[in-house]
Every structure is written in C-alpha cells, then in structure tokens.
C-alpha cells in the first residue's frame, strides 16, 4: 500500500536518493563551471600577464567586477537580463555561465601569479635552448608555475563548488536546495543538514586528498 502523502512526513530512504541526485547535480554544475572557468581563467591570466593588448588592460578591471560583486546578484541579474539579449538559458545553463565566469575571474589571478612565479631567468634559459614561446609556456611555465599555484587553484575550485549552492535561487535543485526542501517536509533539520554536509564532504574530500598526494609527489 502506498504511504499516504501528507505535507509533513518523516525521513524516508527514498529521500536519501533525492539528496544523492541533488549532490550529483552539484557535482555536475561544479565540474563544468570549474573546468570552463579554469581554461578561461588561464587564458585571461596569460593575457593580463603579457599585458600587450589593449584588451588585456580592460580585462583586469572587468574581472575585478566579477570577483567583487556577490555571486547571488550576478546570478539573478544574468538570469533575468540574458533573455533581453536573446539568450534563453535554463537555470542550469545560466548557473554554468555565471559560475564559469566567476571561477575564471578568480583563476585569472592565480594563473598570473603562477606565470610570475616562474621568473624571467628561467624563461630565458628555456628560450636559450631554442624552445619557442609556446614550448616555453607548455614545458616550463605551465608545470613550474602550475605547481606553484596549485594549492590556490584547489582553494578556488572547492570554493566554487560550495558557491554553486547559490544557483538554487534560479530554481536549480542542487544539494543545498534539496536539503531545504526535505527539511521543510520532514522537519528534521539536524539529520538532513548532517546528511547534506556529508555529501559536500564526500564531494570535496577526494579532491583535497588527490591534491595533497600530487603536492607530496611534486615536493620531491
């Protein structure tokens, strides 16, 4: 017999599945945004570092704006104004766009720092061996600078993952939103929040662990 559906009901095993699905959506939007944001951010950071083009000069201040305006405001503004310029994006895609740009604005700083960490003497040494500009970037700057700022990048990535909860204001049901729904229904905030916390931990712990392993390997 089907359980009677009432507005309030206790926590059921299927709710765990509901949370797991929401965690999957958190993971999905995070991985997408962090990936796109990292690639974009590295390109932006490189442009700012080189500083050759007029575009690079305006890029810094523009990214400053994305870094400093609260994400929730960016989300709501983008979601509501995008249709005006003909972009009809669902909450998920809107979230990906805003989170990616936000992530990129943070990564740009990290990437620029990484390139600066390599230093001119090292790069001259690479070029003196006959490496092209791009070979120098690929084989010297990327690995050396990348390792130098990897911990900062992990910090940014984990931050973006947690901030992805804000996409719920657009109606995207990710982990935090799902928890709120369940709390409202079951009136068991402690249990649900603990579970949600455990899911967040399960998502970020492997990343931290893996990062720590990499850092240890590089330290030799």
């Amino acid at each position: 017999m089907e359980p009677t559906v009432s507005f309030f009901s206790g926590f059921q095993p299927s709710d765990l599945w509901f949370l797991a699905e929401a965690a999957w959506r958190t993971l999905l939007i995070s991985v997408l945004s962090i990936s796109i944001g990292t690639v974009l951010g590295v390109v932006f950071g490189w442009m700012i570092y080189e500083g050759k083009w007029p575009a690079a000069l305006t890029l810094g201040p523009v990214l400053d704006v994305f870094r400093s305006v609260p994400l929730i405001i960016q989300l709501v503004l983008f979601y509501n104004f995008a249709p005006i310029i003909g972009l009809n994006l669902d909450p998920f895609l809107s979230g990906v766009v805003v989170l990616s740009v936000y992530c990129a604005s943070l990564v740009a700083n990290v990437a620029r720092g990484g390139m600066e960490a390599v230093g001119l003497p090292m790069r001259r040494a690479a070029r003196s061996l006959g490496m092209s500009y791009w070979q120098d970037l690929r084989y010297v700057v990327l690995p050396i600078g990348g390792r130098a700022v990897f911990p900062s990048w992990v910090g940014v990535a984990l931050g973006v993952m947690k901030d992805s909860a804000l996409v719920s204001v657009l109606g995207y049901i990710e982990l935090l939103k799902a928890s709120q729904i369940l709390i409202t229904r079951t009136q068991e905030p402690l249990l649900i929040l603990t579970l949600a916390g455990a899911f967040y931990f399960a998502l970020s712990y492997p990343i931290s662990r893996y990062a720590a392993t990499l850092e240890k390997r590089w330290a030799t």
């Binding site: 003497p121 001259r124 070029r127 003196s128 061996l129 006959g130 084989y139 050396i144």
Partner: protein, 240 residues
C-alpha cells in the same frame, strides 16, 4: 664566427651598449671582464637574441640574429647559454632537464634524447645524478647540469654569463673545470667572468668593458700584463 657591428642597446633611455664592434672566430675562447653594470650580460643577451637591439647588427655564421626573417629558435640551437642564476627546471630530474630540449626542439626520439643527456651529464661529472632532482643538487652541480643541458643541443658556440659568481667559493672550481674541459675540446666560447685566473689561463683573448664601451681587447698577456686604458688599470688594481 660571431660578428658584431656597431651594436647599440638601450633600456628605455639608458644606453647600455654604445656601439660595439667585435668578431669572435670559431674556436676562440673570449673572456669578457668589466665592472658591474658595464653591459657584459646585456652583450650576451643581444648575441643570443634574448634582448632586442636598437642599432647595428649581430651575425652568427652569417645569419643576422635580429633580422625579421631569422628563425631565432633555430639559430639559438647553435648557441648554448649558461646563466649566473642556476635555473635548472625544478620539476624535472637531471636527465629530463638535459633531454627536454633535444626531444621537443630537435624532435629526437625519447631513447636518443636520453642517450644524449646521459652522455652530457657524464661529461660534466654528473653521471651518478641522472635521476636526481635539482633541489638535491649543490649550486656547482646545478651549474654543471646547466652546461650539460646547453651542450645537449650540440651548439657551436657557448655563452657563459658569470656562471660561477653565485656559487660558494668551494664550488667554483668544479664549474671552471667543466668550462676548461670544454675550451680544451675546441668549443668557441664567450665567457663573462669575474674569475681573472680563468680569463688569464684559458682565454685566447680578453676584452674589457667599461660603461657600455668595449675599451680594450687583446691576449691575456696584453690585458693583464700591459693594460693600456686607465679604466682597465683601475679595474685590475681594484680586484687584486
């Protein structure tokens, strides 16, 4: 042969090289001496195309280093360079440091590149450090690694920019020995150095730079035994 004609180099409005004329024939070991700031490092950077020049020309085996159409990456393979700062690639082992450029620039196979690297490291006395990371090497070892790394490209010329001046005194000898060995093998070398003993014993010619001008050039006997310019005399007495 390296031919430098009327070379002028400015950093902004600061004239660092004020019209240098200099020929370095194949097989010669030339030492460059002079006070700090006289433009010695800058000269090497201009020869290697690491810094643009404002006037004059630098030709290496007839190819103009700074001409628009020159493939500078190709030309640089003829010129190895060792810098004052030890800049071994910290993420690579000694072997990988040396093998990298042959592999990606000269497109050697992995095995070939490793062979070359092993040989060059043995050559500078680092045969037992192949799989060691630079962080575990002394400054002297890192400079020898830098020499091996440059030699792995089989250059015709070697440019040394005070390869020993950042080293602890007890480590200077091993690097100078490696340079001496190279000179004995007939390598064409331009060595910016503060090691007057090396300049005297190893060079065919010595040139003295003063405030961006090549003030004097001659055999070690001429430069150290009978310096003509007043600045050179002062410089020599100041370092004794």
């Amino acid at each position: 042969m390296i031919e430098i004609r009327g070379l002028k180099k400015f950093y902004g409005s600061l004239e660092v090289l004020k019209g240098i004329d200099l020929d370095v024939p194949k097989g010669e070991v030339l030492s460059v001496i002079g006070a700090s700031g006289s433009g010695k490092s800058t000269l090497l950077y201009c020869i290697n195309g690491l810094e643009p020049i404002q006037e004059g020309s630098v030709k290496v085996d007839g190819t103009d280093v700074h001409a628009k159409g020159t493939d500078i990456n190709e030309l640089r393979q003829k010129m190895g360079m060792v810098f004052q700062q030890w800049n071994s690639f910290p993420h690579l082992t000694a072997l990988e440091n040396v093998a990298l450029a042959p592999k990606i620039v000269k497109k050697k196979s992995r095995a070939e590149a490793r062979d070359i690297a092993t040989r060059q490291l043995q050559h500078v006395g680092l045969g037992d450090k192949l799989n060691v990371y630079p962080s575990a090497l002394s400054g002297g070892q890192q400079q020898r690694l830098a020499i091996a790394r440059a030699l792995a490209m089989e250059p015709d010329y070697m440019l040394f920019d005070e390869a020993t001046s950042a080293l602890d005194p007890e480590l200077v000898g091993e690097v100078l020995d490696a340079m001496r060995l190279l000179a004995d093998e007939g390598m064409t070398m331009i060595c910016v150095t503060h090691e007057m003993g090396f300049a005297r014993d190893v060079s065919d010619r010595v040139t003295f730079f003063h405030e961006g001008i090549l003030e004097e050039i001659g055999t070690p006997a001429e430069i150290f035994g009978a310096p003509k310019s007043e600045h050179l005399q002062k410089f020599l007495s100041s370092i004794r």
